[in-house]
């Protein structure tokens, strides 16, 4: 196609003209990957070597790699327990907003009731409310009812914080299901719970997958909410809190910090590589409605 316009250019000249494009792009990619690569390589290097020379020296013979840093942070650095805590926090905090949000999204999409639009507009408005606006009253409430430092408290908080986005994303999807599909089921005598559970939820799996990944990553990577509602007890601290404490206490203990940081990245990276398509869809849904 382009031959017509650029017939004067030979293929070779065109290829040469594209060299700056490749150089710039590859340089940017290398710059973006280097920080993570440095962390990964360092986490396998012995303590005395990390502190004395750069991580790129690791590729010079004699090679010297070790798993000791991982063994240390997992057993003595509280990272093993924190990993479990992160899971205990993230999994329920992902499932709850999806279930509760899907019910509400179904009602907003397929039921008629007074104030429907007003209520939905309020949910859109809540999408961007800074969570800082909620922290003091909720912390006081949690202190009063004894939920500070408990998983139940942080589950409820994450669920509520995740709901506006969950309702928004799922309603957009559920409202686009064909009207005939819902109506024919109603004519066949199916109740709303049946339509919802047997028809709407199964067809919404792609949207639910995007939402689940998004919410899981958000909760797994969260530091602020855990800091505030869990109150810093090591028993319940997720990895983000444990690592930020390690940064304060170890400072330059790179052998431990690099290993700990990488442990916290493993699960999100697996999710990211395995389900990148859905993750990207979730990101897109969060900003532009297709």
């Amino acid at each position: 196609m382009a031959n017509k316009s650029g017939s004067v250019r030979t293929p070779l000249r065109r290829a040469l003209g594209r060299i700056p494009l490749h150089v710039i792009l590859i340089l940017i990619c290398v710059a973006w990957i280097t920080p993570s690569a440095g962390l990964l390589v360092s986490s396998f290097r012995p303590k005395n070597m990390i502190a004395t020379n750069g991580w790129w020296e690791a590729f010079k013979t004699p090679f010297s790699f070790t798993l000791e840093n991982y063994a240390y942070v997992l057993t003595r650095g509280n990272m093993g327990r924190s990993f479990v805590n992160s899971l205990l926090i993230a999994v329920p905090s992902t499932l709850m907003p999806i279930f509760i949000g899907a019910c509400a999204a179904y009602a907003f999409a397929w039921m008629r009731f007074p104030f429907r639009k007003t209520l939905y507009l309020m949910i859109i408005a809540l999408l961007v409310v800074p969570l800082q606006m909620t922290m003091i009253p909720i912390l006081r409430l949690f202190n009063k009812v004894g939920l500070t430092g408990s998983f139940v408290g942080i589950w409820l908080a994450h669920t509520a914080y995740g709901l506006p986005f969950a309702i928004y994303l799922l309603r957009n999807f559920i409202a686009q299901l064909p009207r005939s599909l819902i109506e024919s089921a109603q004519i066949d005598g199916a109740s709303h719970p049946t339509i919802f559970l047997k028809l709407v939820l199964p067809t919404s799996i792609p949207a639910i997958a995007s939402l689940a990944i998004f919410q899981f990553m958000w909760v797994w990577n969260d530091l602020l909410i855990a800091l505030i509602y869990l109150g810093g007890t090591p028993d319940v601290a997720p990895m983000t809190v444990t690592i930020s404490n390690m940064v304060n206490s170890y400072g330059g203990g790179w052998e431990y910090l690099t290993a700990a940081a990488f442990i916290s990245m493993v699960l999100p990276l697996i999710v990211f590589f395995a389900l990148q398509k859905y993750f990207v869809k979730g990101v897109l849904a969060g900003s532009v409605k297709e």
Partner: protein, 326 residues
Amino acid sequence: MHTNYIMVAIAALAVIPVFLWAYLMITEQIATHTSRKTAGVLRPWFWILPAVSLLIIFLVYPVINTIVLSFMDARSEHFVGLRNYKYIFSDSGMLVVLRNNLLWLVFFTAACLVLGLLIAVLSDRVKYESVAKTCIFLPMAISFVAAGVIWRFMYEFRPAGTPQIGTVNAILTAIFPNFEPKAWLFNRSTNNAALIVVGIWMWTGFAMVILSAGLKGISEDILEAARIDGASEIAIFFRIILPLMMPTITVVATTLIINVLKVFDIVYVMTNGNLGTEVIANRMYKEMFNFRNYGRASAIATLLLVAIIPVMIMNLKRFNTEESNG
């Protein structure tokens, strides 16, 4: 103790769906036992009740409460009028905080947009597009805390003459023999920039993904027609691609702005707001936990809300036009 938590979590996982299923069934039974008309009125409220009650308890009520607290003293006992707000805009420490947020707002947003657009446009023209985009998007999957560790290591400083273990100083001393290694995070003239770079590293992928999707939406025919007319690639970018992408760019910019106003984790992990790097969210955290001044903390949070209200209104308008268009 810990096994208890695991049991609770497993129970919760099983209980949540069962509980919700039972809730739907019971409310449906209640609805069907009333007249048809009442059922139609009741049913929607049953369906939205769990979500709406959580939103009221955890978002609506606290927001109103925080606004009220922002006009009260440290322990929320006495009304103090605008005193907390006067403090926010006059205290010298707070002015540094506001300046830093402004620096973040301008440089973070601009850099993410420019780099995101550049990478989207460049990678659109190569065969290894998906690999390149994965490299850039990858940091989005990492927590700010892990990114903080990664970049503290990047910025690590050793006195001149000794081997540098931080990548940034090592590269600079290798390229420029006369370069004095810098303690990037401790030097007041570089530390804010160093932190903003971490933010850009994490969020450029977000901008790139959305801008790239917008770019793919531009019809190939228009670009081809311009090429046949002899327009250069640069002219095509500025005259055709950029104007067509303005709506997408606006959406990305607003999302970036919402997030950058609330930036917390990077600063908390890397400098804890010391040496002139504090931002609004960190200051609020400190007022809340270190100084126990709930009045000031609430006023700072309210300031964040006020800054975000224009975006909120834009969202609502966008939703309204989308709905009326079908």
